[in-house]
């Protein structure tokens, strides 16, 4: 059933995404433009980040540069304890998942509410988001109704999405008005104006960032873009790639705390800029463009591997192709190299990426990096060394091919295909054995095809 839910979700995404792309006059030109903007930003990250910081500070905001997860979490936790925060409302943010902020706050006795509906659902289930854009896509309304009955209100007698929405809404409204601190991510940090840009659909983002008296933005350093006008193309392309929408329901720009005479907004405004391995990736000239990612989720949606195994199987904050490329850089190649191998290198991810990151080739480069770092199995290394010797000697190769076919023919002749003595048993688990020709092509060539 799980796979069926995912398939249906992806099928409706496919339709919406294609329709959305058709609304943009020249999709390829839009991708090109987005790639150029992101490249300019990432190549001049130092300059644009400082410009952003300067503008935010001038408006009375605070900017904290966190080298890693620990520094970021400690900053937010100290701030919360210092200001007497007991309840936090969060709008959707993958960076806070990456640095595991919520457990840190909860350990300090602070109640944390996820307010994006999907995030709220997975929080109730005590599991990580399944997908970076649609965190609860693996659940149907029946499962969500059951969850709400168990966790929120045993009297829920419906699985009508509108009723379930109303239950969540009532619960979350209480949280919005109780919270002293709102935590959000940022889709973009706009350098020339010093504002953060947030793209949302549910309105929870606006409540999180305007009702509580403290607003903390937690985001990655790579999210900066040079100019406000860049949003004119980035926002619609992000929405189209993410959900197929022309533009999301809410586009919010926030530049600092409430100013004298303003009716709402927080008293304090903090931006936590998280590095957490990104600077190191910036120094990798081959894979720097991975930092161009705008977290739209398109590569997850198109990926045939993601479609078959789902988001939780990866065991990472960022699943799918972008996660498989990025995670070894953030959390170590030795532990996460297998993700780069869990791909047929089909290249579908590269073909949809709205900022044109060549994800498939980066997966291959990660494999090479893993091998060069000596992180692969010694048996595999030996196998490929032997393979090389064979391939450099055409006669040994021809003899080897003949011997392998002959040996396999004996194994199959004895009815042992798929058994422990069958060297092709992994292949034969899901496939019928490859028919074995008695002669190779080169033998036939010599016999009756060579015209000379």
């Amino acid at each position: 059933m799980h796979r069926e839910i995912i398939r249906r979700g992806m099928d409706s995404y496919d339709v919406a995404h294609l329709k959305g792309r058709a609304r943009i006059k020249d999709w390829e030109a839009a991708r090109q433009k987005c790639q150029e903007i992101r490249r300019e930003a990432v190549n001049h990250l130092d300059r644009y980040l400082l410009q952003f910081e300067e503008k935010v500070v001038a408006r009375g905001g605070h900017v904290f540069w966190a080298a890693n997860s620990e520094e970021a979490c400690t900053y937010v936790k100290s701030l919360a304890t210092r200001l007497g925060v007991r309840t936090v409302v969060k709008s959707k943010s993958m960076v806070t998942e990456e640095i595991h902020l919520s457990p840190v706050l909860e350990k300090a006795g602070i109640k944390v509410w996820e307010t994006d509906l999907g995030e709220f659902i997975v929080q109730l289930r005590e599991e990580p988001p399944y997908h970076i854009v649609t965190p609860a896509m693996h659940l149907n309304r029946g499962q969500i109704a059951q969850l709400f009955r168990e966790k929120l209100d045993p009297a829920i007698a419906t699985d009508d999405p509108r009723d379930l929405m109303a239950v969540a809404r009532r619960k979350l409204r209480e949280a919005f008005f109780a919270a002293e601190m709102g935590i959000s991510g940022a889709n973009f940090l706009v350098a020339d104006t010093g504002v953060i840009a947030i793209s949302t659909n549910e309105g929870n983002g606006r409540l999180c960032t305007s009702v509580p008296r403290i607003h903390v933005v937690v985001t990655g350093i790579e999210k900066v873009i040079p100019r406000l006008e860049d949003l004119a193309v980035l926002w619609p392309v992000l929405a189209t790639s993410g959900t197929g929408q022309g533009i999301t329901t809410y586009g919010t720009l926030i530049g600092g705390p409430r100013r004298p005479g303003e009716a709402d907004g927080p008293e304090e405004f903090h931006v936590v800029l998280v590095d957490n391995g990104r600077s190191q990736l910036l120094g990798d000239s081959e894979q720097r463009e991975v930092l161009h990612c705008i977290r739209c989720g398109a590569c997850l949606n198109i990926c045939p591997v993601f479609r078959h195994i789902g988001g939780h199987t990866y065991g990472t904050t960022y699943p799918g192709p972008i996660g498989s490329v990025l995670t070894p850089h953030l959390d170590g190649i030795a532990r996460f190299k297998h993700l780069s191998y869990a791909s047929s290198l089909c290249g579908a991810c590269t073909s949809v990426c709205p900022v044109k990151i060549d994800l498939a080739h980066h997966l291959l480069q990660n494999r090479r990096n893993a091998t060069e770092a000596g992180a692969t199995k010694s048996s595999e290394r030996m196998m490929f060394r032997a393979w090389r010797s064979v391939m450099l000697h055409p006669r040994i190769y021809a003899l080897g091919g003949w011997s392998a076919r002959t040996a396999l023919r004996i194994v199959y002749g004895l009815g042992l295909a798929g058994s422990i003595v069958d060297p092709m048993r992994v292949w034969n688990r899901y496939r019928s054995p490859v028919p074995l020709p008695s002669e190779s092509f080169r033998a036939r060539w010599r016999k009756d095809l060579d015209a000379n």
Partner: protein
């Protein structure tokens, strides 16, 4: 000729040669050729792939044109050799060779300029767009142009025909369960067309898919593009060995 075609799918190579000769090219098969290096390259063993690539370049560098019945092998030569051989004395030769190396359908349509090769194949056929041919070499229309000209052939479109079949080289062994599941999804799509045959420009996809279809006892069988094009009114393709074919290189 891709090594796995040479060793496991000789019919693919035979049919490739047949079609190339029929459209007027002289074909040679240098017997010193082995593998282009793709298995090592794609598994991350670039130090092992490099000498194979150099061997390939040495064997073929004097050919006028190289034709290979595999989009995947050609993409290694065209897209990855320049990077793999970045510090090799053979880099210039490799880049020059890459510009003269073509996938089979690409060669027929773009170089030879033919789509009508005089083939007759009275069967329903569906087309799977092999990933590397499609996305690395941008071959979208060429195979279909050739199939549309085949006398008697009924082309049936398959849903998600651009989605990977799940082969992926060593991926099929390292992540056998995922590869098998992807293969079965593709087989579902093939079944839904009701076509007798599924064809593609990569015999490796077809070798994998034939195994999946065979295990399911599905009605459809695989057949490599050149084998469709090699069929003529007098020949009887249903007597061919069960389908898969791999790439071949002929040089003219």
């Amino acid at each position: 000729m891709p090594c796995f075609v040479d060793q496991l799918l000789p019919e693919v190579a035979v049919d490739t040669v047949k079609v190339l000769r029929r459209v007027g090219y002289a074909v040679e098969f240098p017997e010193d050729q082995t593998c282009c290096g793709q298995p090592a390259l794609n598994t991350g063993y670039w130090d092992e792939a490099r000498p194979c690539a150099e061997h390939f370049v040495r064997v073929f560098k004097n050919a006028d044109l190289v034709v290979c019945p595999s989009g995947s092998c050609v993409s290694v030569i065209r897209v990855f050799y320049p990077e793999l051989l970045a510090h090799s004395p053979l880099r210039e030769d490799a880049i020059s060779l890459a510009s003269r190396t073509f996938e089979f359908s690409e060669f027929l349509v773009k170089v030879a300029g033919v789509t009508q090769v005089g083939a007759t194949f009275r069967h329903s056929v569906t087309y799977h767009a092999s990933c590397h041919g499609l996305r690395e070499l941008k071959l979208r229309e060429e195979p279909l142009q050739l199939l549309r000209q085949v006398d008697g052939l009924k082309l049936v479109e398959m849903v998600r025909f651009e989605e990977c079949c799940g082969f992926g080289g060593t991926f099929a062994a390292k992540f056998a369960d995922i590869s098998g599941a992807m293969g079965n999804s593709k087989a579902d799509s093939v079944d839904a067309t009701g076509a007798e045959f599924v064809t593609a420009i990569d015999p490796s996809c077809l070798m994998h898919l034939q195994g999946i279809l065979g295990k399911r006892r599905a009605a459809a069988r695989t057949i490599y593009l050149a084998s469709v094009l090699a069929s003529q009114a007098s020949s009887n393709p249903t007597n061919q060995a069960p389908a898969n074919q791999g790439p071949a290189q002929g040089k003219s």
